[in-house]
Amino acid sequence: MHIPDAYLSPVTQAAGFTVMAPFWATAIRKTSRELTKKQIPLLAMGAGFCFVVQMFNLPAPGGTTAHALGIALLTVLVGPWAALLGMTLTLAVQAILFGDGGILALGINCLNMALVVSFSAHAIIRAVAGTATPGSPRHLVAVAIGAFAGSILGSLSAALILGSQPLIASDAMGHALYFPFGYSVAVPAMLISHLAVAGPAEAVVTLFAVAFLARNFPEYFKGGAERIGARFRLSTVLTACFVLTPLGLMATGSAWGEW
């Protein structure tokens, strides 16, 4: 899901940073307000943890590889806003230091892998688990479903952005300048590998890790203050959709060959 630089048009890259900017600002504001000093190392460690989990590439259909993100676990433990920040750190280190994912594509990569995954996983886990105690069967089922669905939604978002590239930037011959395939190729390619490999991997890693931590280190699940913004509301989700709408407009603007 790490999109390299040459796959996205400059417009999309700029849009990625524009969309992410308010989320990053909110995450930093919430984190520095609600996060005690104690959690700054924890969050940095969480970012390192996501990084290590992502080093394990599993072979996926079509010769590509897929890997778990580790962000669903981070979301369960520190809440979606802090997880968003932790994942952003991971992606920034990967892009600048290891060349995994583009530097200019960082905004879009954060949108797909940090924002969409953490918030959708969080919303689904909260909806399914209700008030179940952490580590209870219902909570674990919720965690697995949330991690799986989050991974799928993140890949879907990446596929939609990649698939829109031929519509956004083409040369005079109608040939795409960046990612060359439309939705019909990008969406199935991403979804198949994530439904088959990455999604289950994310679900399994998160499920077992949460089960283990709830049993052996229950203190991680106490003290609701640690989970930043754990009580975010439907209005937040709607605002997010509202903010993301221009992306859709950008894609449909040329869908009928107006360019």
Binding site: M45, V52, A201
Partner: protein, 367 residues
């Protein structure tokens, strides 16, 4: 939809006799009975799924119950150490995958640390002002992204290479990294794009059913060249600048300080975590005679990541205590400004010129 039932499907209906065909009772033709049938089948389905889930969850719970680990180290030998491990011989050969991944991880960070020493040597681009360098390389990246003429793209890549040479970056490892990444990320797209199915046009070569066209080759080549140039520039920036200097320049460009502090910590934790992971897998391999069953591997993936997270949290706690013992977090030393030299201005001007040229090439090609 198809307009006919394929013969295989039409004949196959009698092969399998479901207990409740079409979710209804046999002979349930009346409306009321049909509704009852639906409700009854829903209840049966829910019961089956529910009991399967119960069994599955019991599977998840039972092994963990036995491995109650003590939180604090104690001198007494814990119970789980006294009982001998069961011999897990699945009859499979040990999988090389885990070892290879760990070897890859260790190679990656060995190389990263090696490049840090290149950046410390301070030749050529390495001794530029970090902020000037950040702006220069970011503008080259944007240039590689918007450029539409091959000559300008080649010039941008050339500039990247020259700056790598000036800093005495080991050229072979740099190029192998760039080519390797470009091939890994790019060929997946470039090969299908070059074929006649995706890009119709004059055929360049044919291998059985697969035909490669000239316009397709041009598009695939562009994709690879753009990708390789972007990776080259990012690699040269990274390998000629220390991580702290990259962060310092980003802080000066307006990235909030809390983020910079965390990024600084992440960098340090990363290598500790990777080393811990390497030790964990090595220990596991050492305990194991034959390969793992799929179930065992999955359980290990989950429990392993949980242990890794617990270890991370313990380290984070220790770091926190160390910070407090020293009287709080020191003000970041990243923001020292070595001042701008003439070279900084010249390099920045050259890079900005390339950015303008690239944008211009995009405009002239677009119309």
């Amino acid at each position: 939809m198809v307009g006919y039932a394929p013969a295989g499907i039409a004949n196959a209906t009698e092969l399998a006799r479901p207990a409740m065909p079409d979710y209804a009772f046999h002979g349930a033709d009346g409306n009321f009975l049909a509704i009852l049938g639906y409700i009854f089948s829903a209840a049966v389905g829910a019961t089956i799924v529910g009991s399967a889930l119960r069994v599955a969850l019991r599977q998840v719970k039972s092994p963990a119950r036995q491995s109650q680990m003590p939180l604090a180290p104690s001198l007494a030998v814990p119970d789980w150490m006294r009982t001998p491990n069961p011999v897990v011989a699945s009859g499979r050969a040990p999988s090389r995958w885990l070892n290879q991944t760990v070897a890859k991880i260790r190679r990656t960070y060995a190389r990263t640390i090696a490049f840090e020493s290149v950046a410390r040597a301070r030749h050529g681009v390495s001794q530029m002002n970090p902020v000037a360098k950040a702006i220069s390389f970011l503008s080259l990246l944007v240039a590689a992204s918007v450029v539409r003429s091959p000559e300008v793209l080649a010039a941008v890549a050339g500039l990247g290479l020259v700056s790598a040479l000036s800093a005495r970056v080991p050229l072979i490892s740099l190029l192998s990294r760039v080519v390797g990444s470009a091939v890994f990320f790019g060929l997946v797209l470039a090969i299908p794009v070059a074929t006649a199915w995706v890009t119709p046009g004059v055929e360049a070569a044919r291998l059985g059913e697969i035909a490669v066209t000239w316009p397709g080759l041009e598009r695939g080549g562009w994709l690879l060249a753009r990708l390789a140039t972007a990776i080259l520039i990012a690699s040269v920036w990274q390998s000629t600048t220390r991580w702290n200097d990259i962060l310092g320049s980003l802080a000066r460009l307006g990235v909030p300080e809390i983020f910079i502090t965390m990024a600084q910590m992440t960098y340090r934790f990363l290598f500790i975590l990777l080393e811990t992971l390497g030790d964990m897998t090595q220990a596991r391999e050492a305990r194991q005679i034959s390969g793992y069953r799929a179930q065992g591997s999955r359980a290990y993936a989950g429990a392993g990541s949980a242990i890794l997270f617990a270890k991370s949290a313990t380290t984070a706690h220790e770091v926190q205590m160390a910070i407090e013992a020293r009287g709080g977090m020191a003000k970041s030393v990243l923001l020292r400004d070595p001042g701008w030299s003439k070279t900084d201005f010249v390099v920045l001007a050259v890079c900005l010129t390339f950015l303008v040229l690239s944008i211009a090439s995009g405009v002239t090609h677009a119309f």
